[in-house]
């Protein structure tokens, strides 16, 4: 199943820069052949057939004039952007540019930091998530998050995936079993983990742990999945698997990914936002950002001249 995706991707004109094709072919060689019994997964929608990005596309999250302050220090300056529904949106930019801060606004993880103030709005399904009526627990069930460092709980693999349901009060064993299997399958971890579901999750490898974290997140069926540099601690093979996973998940979920790896943004995102010093510099289709950026700062960054 991975292979067919990869082939599609490798030959696709939007991603057919020579370097990109080489990387994809390399990944192809490293992939294990898929088991014959597995039915082929539906292909991701081809980028060509997608509507052109723009105001017309349905959006999952709308950021409107958002500014954020850590105490006296301003970290975000009047950011406005629409995150398209069921697409992968990448945030890129040098360290400290505010991309992770913006990501952590979407599920209000910044609440955990003392002295954070925001101005402006983040709308999820038309509702401002900073409004006092919003229950942050409900919000986080709708907006899942995968962290930079894999952080499985010191519990069994099964309990890790079932955690979100358990804390929501699900006790039905059959339902839990079902969701755990489904989530692990969607996270492409089922074959590796099915025989050791009740072993500690900490015995998994780094890449497996990160996929487990993704399985844990999708188990509660969020609308949006936030990924904060999910591959920065992984080796290239594990990274390739995660990227494959992102491709297969984009049909059901809106995905926002923060990355330092520009190839990664180019490979797996539909839209890319470039941030610099807390400001949104450019937000456009990924192909445009990497091939014909409108802003000279963006061009300088993506071509590696700074940052």
């Amino acid at each position: 199943m991975f292979s067919s995706n990869l082939i599609k991707k490798a030959v696709h004109p939007a991603t057919a820069t020579p370097q990109k094709a080489l990387v994809s072919l390399f990944e192809l060689l490293l992939m294990k052949p898929s088991p014959p019994v597995t039915p082929p997964a539906p292909l991701p929608p081809s980028p060509v057939s997608r509507p052109a990005a723009g105001a017309a596309a349905p959006f999952a999250v709308r950021v409107d004039q958002l500014s954020l302050f850590y105490g006296a220090k301003q970290a975000l300056f009047d950011v406005s952007l629409d995150v398209p529904e069921r697409r992968v949106t990448a945030f890129i930019g040098p360290s400290g540019c505010g991309k992770s801060t913006l990501l952590r606004c979407f599920n209000r993880m910044n609440d955990l930091v003392d002295g954070v103030r925001t101005r402006g709005q983040v709308l999820l399904g038309g509702q401002d998530i900073f409004a006092p009526v919003v229950d942050v627990i409900e919000l986080r069930k709708r907006v899942g998050m995968v962290f930079q460092k894999s952080n499985p709980f010191p519990k069994s693999i099964y309990e890790n995936v079932a955690y979100g349901l358990r804390i929501a009060g699900v006790k039905n064993k059959v339902q839990l079993d079902e969701v755990v299997e489904k989530s692990l399958r969607r996270a492409a971890l089922w074959d590796e983990a099915k025989d050791r579901l009740h072993d500690s999750a900490l015995g998994l490898s780094g890449g497996q742990q990160q996929r487990l974290c993704i399985a844990r997140t999708i188990a509660v069926e969020p609308e949006v999945i936030l990924m904060d540099e999910p591959c920065s601690a992984l080796d290239p093979i594990a990274t390739a698997k995660i990227e494959e996973l992102i491709q297969s998940l984009r049909q059901q979920f809106t995905i926002v990914i923060v990355t330092h790896n520009m190839q990664q943004a180019a490979r797996c995102s539909d839209k890319t936002a470039f941030f610099y010093l807390g400001k949104l510099i450019e937000f456009a289709d990924t192909g445009d950002i990497f091939t014909r950026p409108a802003n000279p700062q963006t061009e300088a960054y993506v071509s590696g001249r700074f940052g």
């Binding site: 599920n107 993880m109 955990l112 627990i137 409900e138 986080r140 069930k141 899942g144 998050m145 962290f147 460092k149 894999s150 952080n151 499985p152 709980f153 010191p154 955690y163 979100g164 804390i167 929501a168 500690s200 900490l202 015995g203 780094g206 742990q209 974290c213 844990r216 997140t217 509660v220």
Partner: protein, 557 residues
């Protein structure tokens, strides 16, 4: 050439300086400090072990002639070398200490004698040593065994007869004591209960009002029945005691006195000089066993320390059960919920300083707050009929445990706070990001991950609590507790009772007993036992902690 440049020190004179730069001095200093600490601990343990472990060994008995024509019979327990002044003049001659026993005859257990005056050291094989129910050991030569004034055996045959008859007589005496203590005790308890019911009924009816005559008659009949029972048991116990006292052994001491020893008081009779090594080991084990499981005799200087072991362990367990949840909950509030600021910092400093308050101050607080205020209040509320006799309004194992819990709570709070702080941020955020509330995150993620650290705190608290004596002395420990805090009478667990404690036992035997010299080895033995118990409790907690830790091993985050 470049090699030699590397290996050769350019300036040999600066070697000391180089050593200092490399930190060799520091290394030696820190290693030395550790070695010194290890040496002192080993020395202390060795002292305790050597003195404590030899206590039960039946050492040979020596008979000697003194210069004034008298004789001494006893175990040599100590010797002192002669002391000279600067000019070589002897100011004190060499001395030998004998444990002569027979306290009831001589009034003392030990005799110091000048070694030069002693002659004719010998070990008569037929010396009999008797460990008695009271007055300590007896040393002498067996003449005959009598039963109701009639000689049953004399001469060489008497020893076998004594060995055969002594256990039976002892068993009778033990049964008499048991009857006295348990059966008559139960009847007394029932009488007290009946009187209390009457008193409670009178209080309920109000002053001046008459008690229901049917009820009054019922209680009266009960009291009469119990009175008859009491008399019957007393007579039975008396008869048993007379029966037990019938058999006697007649001894002569080394100075020719004749002494009759009733067989009922003989705990152990043995001939130390005639024992084989196997017999000695058997004797040793038998006494060591009695020490661990037996009741104390002779104002704690003989017999066992079982009530003290039981009291120590039970108090430590109650203390742990109280201090663990209390300290953990407090630490979680401090670390997770309280707004970190000046006030919390002050609270934290106060908690740390609490660990430095002298333990006797905690004892005084426990006496004032737990015993008088809480206990007194409970008595007025729940046990008004017993007043003025206090139930909870006096020292007891519950109040002592609570006082120690208060004393050790800083240890648990500090350890728990540390372990909460060590739970990785990622685990918390992962849980919160899945829509868990803060409480769910603490309960499901933070608490399980900090359990090993919490247990470390509990281990430290237990070690501290089990060895503490001062606060216990005023909150419930007694020299001799007639009843244990856990027994067969409903409701089995009697938290209001006073109890015995090994630490206090050491103090009591070593410094408060009438016969300090004789009790000295017992102090070491008890110390050894207390150390053993603390180690055992700690090992249990450590094993538990390791099991839990294994569950979270290979923590990659």
């Amino acid at each position: 050439m470049s090699d030699s440049h590397l290996t050769q020190s350019p300036k040999p004179t600066t070697r000391l300086l180089q050593m200092f730069r490399r930190g060799d001095c520091f290394l030696w200093m820190s290693g030395g400090a550790l070695a010194l600490a290890a040496l002192m601990i080993t020395g202390l343990l060795l002292l305790v072990i050597v003195n404590g472990a030899t206590f039960f060994w039946p050492f040979d008995v020596t008979a000697v002639d003194r210069a004034d024509g008298t004789k001494l019979l006893g175990q040599i327990t100590a010797t002192q070398a002669e002391r000279k002044d600067g000019g070589g003049q002897i100011i004190k001659s060499a001395q030998t200490q004998f444990r002569v026993g027979n306290r009831d005859l001589y009034g003392f257990d030990f005799v110091w004698a000048s070694t030069v005056e002693l002659a004719n050291f010998r070990r008569p094989a037929d010396v009999v040593q008797i460990e008695r129910q009271e007055y300590g050991d007896f040393l002498g030569f067996l003449q005959r065994v009598e039963e109701s004034g009639r000689t049953v055996a004399a001469g060489a045959a008497a020893w076998e007869v004594l060995l055969a008859k002594a256990p039976g007589a002892r068993a009778l005496a033990v049964r008499a004591t048991k009857l006295q203590r348990e059966d008559i005790g139960a009847v007394n308890y029932a009488i007290q209960k009946a009187k209390l019911r009457l008193k409670a009924a009178a209080r309920k009816a109000g002053s001046g009002a008459k008690i229901d005559p049917v009820f009054q008659a019922e209680i009266d009949a009960e009291l009469v029945r119990l009175g008859v029972e009491y008399e019957r048991l007393r007579a039975e116990a008396g008869a048993l005691a007379v029966q037990a006292a019938a058999a006697q052994a007649v001894f002569t001491t080394i100075d020719g006195q004749e002494k009759k020893v009733p067989l009922a008081v003989v705990v152990r009779a043995f001939r130390p000089n005639a024992m084989t090594i196997t017999q000695k080991i058997g004797h040793y084990l038998s006494r060591a066993g009695e020490f661990v499981v037996g009741e104390p005799r002779e104002s704690n200087t003989e017999g066992g320390v079982f009530p003290a072991i039981f009291g120590t362990v039970m108090m430590t367990i109650i203390m742990s059960l109280v201090v663990t949840p209390f300290g953990v909950v407090a630490a979680f509030y401090l670390r997770e919920y309280a707004r970190q600021g000046f006030f919390v910092r002050v609270v934290r400093i106060a908690i740390n300083n609490l660990a430095g308050v002298p333990s006797i101050v905690f004892g005084v607080f426990g006496l004032g707050f737990f015993v008088y205020f809480v206990g007194g209040g409970m008595d007025r509320l729940f046990f008004p009929d017993l007043l003025p006799t206090p139930t909870f309004g006096t020292g007891g194992i519950l109040w002592a445990s609570l006082t120690l819990a208060l004393l050790t709570v800083p240890v648990v709070i500090v350890a728990t706070e540390e372990s909460i702080a060590a739970v990785p941020r990622g685990a918390r955020e992962g849980s919160l990001a899945l829509g868990a509330s803060k409480f769910q995150t603490i309960l499901n993620i933070v608490l399980p991950a900090s359990v090993p650290g919490i247990l470390t705190g509990v281990i430290l608290a237990m070690a501290r609590g089990a060895g503490e004596v001062a606060p216990l002395m005023i909150t419930g420990v007694v020299k001799l507790a007639p009843e244990m805090p856990f027994d067969g009478h409903f409701p089995f667990l009697h938290l209001d009772r006073k109890f015995m404690h090994l630490g206090f036992h050491i103090y009591d035997v070593g410094f408060q007993s009438p016969n300090i010299e004789a009790a000295k080895p017992m102090v070491f033995t008890t110390t050894l036992l207390l150390i053993g118990i603390v180690i055992l409790l700690n090992l249990t907690a450590i094993a538990l902690r390791d099991r839990i830790r294994k569950k979270y091993k290979t923590g990659a985050f």
